[in-house]
Symmetry: C2
Subunit: 481 residues, 2 copies
């Protein structure tokens, strides 16, 4: 079956039909409602685009623990109340914020040349006058690991791995370890600083930032991402027989008394309001762009989908909960001085987790959804079949696997036993922009954004309207206290 | 007629055939030689790619009057000697150099956000602590001109014109006046600083720099280009009813005792060495990128073409002169404290100009040549027909007009009475990169670079091998002294 995206008039007609049907008190089949939600989203009737436009314009970058992040959360809560969501509130949590300072890099010899870099998140500052060293280039993290202890004394270690462009983001997973682990490995071998070719797929003079993993409670040395052309330049200089000597400066700092916050908003269920279908996305962003894609788009997609459900004549039995998480970008297993939004939510709502029937998040920009992953118990059967009938017109493949990693924000919730769902987005182009200054509103593809809203609206409605138990043990959740 | 680009082995075979023919002392028809040059270029046998790679890698940015520009000139002269050019020398001239200092811009209210800007060339610094003002946005320079005197007192004036993407660069010509004239017009109306949407066609967070025209011997106020997404952001904030307040800082300075230089290299003609076919390109670049496209590519194209001619068994009767100009980017009709390379060449070689039979330059990156423009006397006739037969396999349209503007470098030479030729390059994508940090080697399209070399080699050979008089008056140049 293939249904072409509806023209706006058709979606409006369908919505009016839906309202008329509701007035006549004749129950509308769930699949019909889901199709109406899908068509309304495709016709541009969700709030998604205006949400991401206003969020990214008013507040720009929203780094974890910043004033901009907090103001964006206050704006989001006010907007969600105005949109008619229930139980809208902000849950604050403490955080040690990392703050990018001034930063610069340059080849100082043999001929001076500026370099485009971005300090990696959580990494310590250089001395006030910067630091200087010869660059030693390794093709991979593995090659860096093979260098003996002390081999890099006084040097700047550089990993030059080229990330592979893939639909499913596998290229990112393979490359990102260089960023998270590189500084520790380089420091162990005596390096005074670490640089890596940006974990990204573009060729612009824009560096991709991102966090570094703590080791023994800290990032041991200043760490930087180079734009791809700058990494190429250093590689070519070396190939010409020159050893590039580089000066690096970072004025990064930490703020121990900072805080971040999660924003909660519900579409309260009619018959089983204590059962939650949780949709997550994060409100913080990296500080170089305006976080339109990462993750303004994700917040827009789930708010857009939930708002379409909120406005139905009959709301579903289960509660749809939207969580706009804080401080996702600095999330890591062990971080001193603070948690992050995903942990804070799971901790605060620990006792309710057994009533969370399903959780998923949107955090891969606006590119189209091409596949769905369901919990093992529901990979086959009626729910999967019904879902597939409704998602097929969006070009989404039938469910064929279960989520291994449903995302950073919902990770702790899922670790708490909540079944996970993922809508897989095409990642082919996402890592051209990810964590760069180029993450801005003009990169949002409105038609694809609406395809995402349509997919989430369908999935969320079907899950919230059903009695399906997604848990691996097949146990029906006990009644809430 | 269409000849597919030759495989390398075929070009080599042709060159060997040419050598064998030469040894047999049988004259090779000029069109056959031109076709051999073309095929050798297409097969990658020119030095063009290695030239632009090494130039842009070793010296990076080469701003007018800088150490990098001077070292690049010394390298170029040494390399041209090694390649077997004649009369290789450097001609130095004085210059007041403009030096970009630190620079920054940010929205300071209502919510702080960083902005990506580039200080415009030649513009004065801000006070040491920067300056701050409300932004007044004008859609065009004309709209700014319509503001009454004093209307912008204490304000920052911004022109937000969107450049149109065109094949022939007409979009740039239409938009660039906003950059060159905007600061003067804004200052006359009381503005404390000037910003404009970058004159460019991309959507990246990279600002396009470029010069500002002097008025009464100076640029009156600090002037900046914004990246397109930043201009959009300011426009959207205004549309939300907010007046963006912006802080600007530039530590730009001037160095009055600087110098630049032109590099000259000849392929000395056999029978009429005093007659010159001049090929120009500029060795300086803007300071944000490495000038691989602007104009490393141009220098590579003309050196590549001239070197293929240099290596022929029989050199042409007329001299082929390569001029690598200095300080092109800061060229303007009236600039205090210095000249630029184009003027310096025309002044130094004033008495030889009457023996320059033709002049042209390459300065639009590496995109393919699609048309040729010839002096009016030669638009029709044998030379044009022969040229067209040889250029048609490169996809180049027949000559249909004469150059109005053959380029900045050769401008003063042409103003001195020398006939102009242009090979028109496709400018559709050039202004995505022009004057940005993104002007780096990875943007050089090697196949298109070689198409350019092929076209210049054919044109140059035909002009240097002929007795054609390109002058408007039809006068044959008198014998040299």
């Amino acid at each position: 079956m293939f249904t072409a995206p509806a023209a706006p008039w058709r979606a409006v007609a369908l919505l009016l039909l839906s309202l008329a049907t509701a007035r006549a008190a004749t129950p509308v089949p769930p699949e019909t409602v889901a199709a109406q939600l899908r068509e309304a989203a495709l016709a541009g009737h969700s709030v998604a685009y205006s949400w991401v436009s206003e969020l990214s314009t008013r507040f720009g970058p929203r780094p974890a623990g910043s004033l901009n992040e907090e103001r964006a959360a206050e704006w989001a809560a006010a907007r969600l109340k105005a949109l008619g969501f229930d139980n809208v509130h902000i849950e604050r949590f403490p955080l040690t914020a990392w703050v990018r300072g001034g930063e610069s890099a340059a080849i100082v010899g043999p001929v001076p040349q500026p370099l485009v870099i971005a300090t990696l998140g959580e990494s310590p500052p250089t001395p006030p006058d910067g630091l200087e060293g010869d660059v030693v280039i390794f093709p991979t993290l593995t090659a860096l690991e093979a260098a003996p202890a002390g081999a890099l004394l006084g040097k700047i270690a550089m990993v030059n791995l080229r990330m592979v462009r893939t639909q499913d983001g596998a290229g990112y997973s393979a490359a990102v370890e260089g960023r998270t682990e590189g500084p520790r490995v380089a420091a162990q071998r005596g390096a005074i600083a670490f640089m890596l070719r940006s974990v990204g797929t573009d060729g612009h003079r824009l560096a991709h930032t991102g966090t570094v993993r703590y080791a023994d409670g800290r990032v041991p040395i200043p760490a930087f991402a180079l734009s791809a052309p700058d990494a190429d330049q250093l590689e070519r200089l070396s190939a010409l027989g020159q050893i590039p000597r580089v000066h690096l400066f970072s004025g990064a700092s930490y703020r121990a008394d900072a805080h971040s916050q999660n924003v909660i908003a519900d579409v309260r269920g009619t018959r089983k309001p204590e059962e939650f279908v949780l949709l997550g996305a994060h409100l913080d962003s990296w500080d170089q762009g305006t976080g339109a894609l990462d993750d303004g788009a994700g917040t827009a997609i789930i708010v857009g989908a939930a708002k379409l459900i909120r406005d139905l004549p009959h709301r579903p039995p289960r509660t749809v909960r939207v969580v706009l998480f804080g401080a996702e970008e600095v999330a890591q297993p062990v971080k001193p001085g603070g948690a992050f939004g995903g942990h804070a939510y799971a901790d605060t709502h620990r006792t309710e987790l057994e009533h969370h029937v399903l959780a998923g998040e949107s955090d891969l920009g606006t590119d189209r959804v091409y596949a769905v992953e369901l919990p093992p118990t529901q990979l086959h059967g009626d729910f999967a079949a019904r879902l597939q009938r409704l998602l097929a017109p969006l070009g989404i493949l039938p469910p064929s696997r279960s989520p291994e990693d449903a995302g950073t924000d919902v990770g702790p919730t899922i670790a708490g036993g909540v079944p996970a769902v993922t809508l897989d987005q095409d990642a082919t182009h996402y890592f051209d922009l990810h964590h760069t200054p180029d993450d801005t509103l003009d990169k949002v593809d409105r038609a694809q954004l609406e395809q995402n809203v349509a997919a989430w609206a369908v999935l969320t409605w079907l899950a919230a309207d059903s009695d399906v138990n997604f848990r691996a043990d097949g146990a029906v959740p006990p009644p809430a206290d």
